[in-house]
Symmetry: C3
Subunit: 146 residues, 3 copies
């Protein structure tokens, strides 16, 4: 599986579900975090979402699924410029669009992925994935992984 | 020609024309349809556009070209995550943008392509292509293929 | 380096900086220009930006860096459909998004890249790059390369 195939499958899982599959893209001890570009470039540890193991990701999935008041939106990830600057290190660019139930599609977030890969039980998984989003303001509606 | 090259050429034809070339990406008996995500996931047969042969696609092209009152807009397809989950089966993600003659560029539609490929007279073509768009509402201005 | 890798590195440099690196993607005598789709298809020589050598690109970079009153925005290039229709000729599609300091991300520009490549001191560089943008109106705020 190439890095481009991995990101394609990852994006497809977030857009099409089921969301329970999302943690399986990570090793058991992987770190996943979503950080603002501003905080990332200043080296600040602030994260909009932080999971320090796959078990924490499973918890996050359950929490999202229990939030029944949450309005359903369709998300669509367009991932481009997937590259592997060093072995087991991957980078990619993303634009995520959201479509509310009866509304127009709009840009939800743009930014970058920085990841580390590991061969885990014969499958390539993320041992670390950082999502760096371009907006300075935190989109408070975000409870979904990116 | 890889699936990524095929989608790149397909998208380029829709964006840059000439539109008469569009049906040549399909086999003579191919099915092309545009369906709303909602209807697709419920298995409903409703389609925003349905062509059950290349001849029907040629008719569609002629109908579009005769609609002279139609305001010219520039469309731009960004296709990503092209993959081939099984031999001759292809999937991809798209975001299409539109730019009106004197206005700002905006998101027109996001969604997915699901296709089947066939080797037809030495050329790889779609024997089936389904466009699944994310909006619930039908964009009534849509008369163009996606 | 594949054409896709080249465009990924090019886009990353424009989005993440430093901007001084941008001219190094070109040969010393390369031409870089940004033209409106309308002007391009009519064959008009009008360009929104025109640099006829790498030295002119270096000047442009210095001019941008001295414009301190310029509001910082984050740009994000999503480049897709990279292809090489003939040896040393490349094409790609782009969507560029901008995020103002305290605002929402929006579509800044969509369009195409048409380029010629040359092997220059052992590195693949653009000997020519034309950016064709879809809007008819000139975005007057544009002083950055695309």
């Amino acid at each position: 599986m190439t890095p481009a195939d991995l990101f394609a499958a990852y994006a497809d899982t977030l857009d099409e579900g089921p969301l329970e599959i999302w943690p399986t893209f990570f090793t058991a001890t992987a770190t996943y975090r979503i950080v603002a570009r501003e905080n990332f470039s200043r080296g600040l540890p602030l994260a909009l979402m932080l999971c320090e193991s796959r078990a924490m990701m499973d918890d996050r999935v359950r929490a999202i699924q229990e939030l029944s008041m949450y309005a359903p939106r369709v998300m669509r990830h367009v991932v481009s410029s997937v590259r592997e600057p060093e072995p087991d290190r991957v980078m990619a660019t993303y634009a995520v669009f959201e479509t509310p139930p009866e509304g127009d599609t709009r840009v939800f977030s743009t930014g970058r992925y920085l990841g580390h890969l590991a061969l885990d039980h014969g499958t390539i998984r993320f041992s670390e994935l950082t999502v760096i989003y371009d907006t300075a303001l935190i989109p408070t509606s975000l409870i979904y992984p990116l």
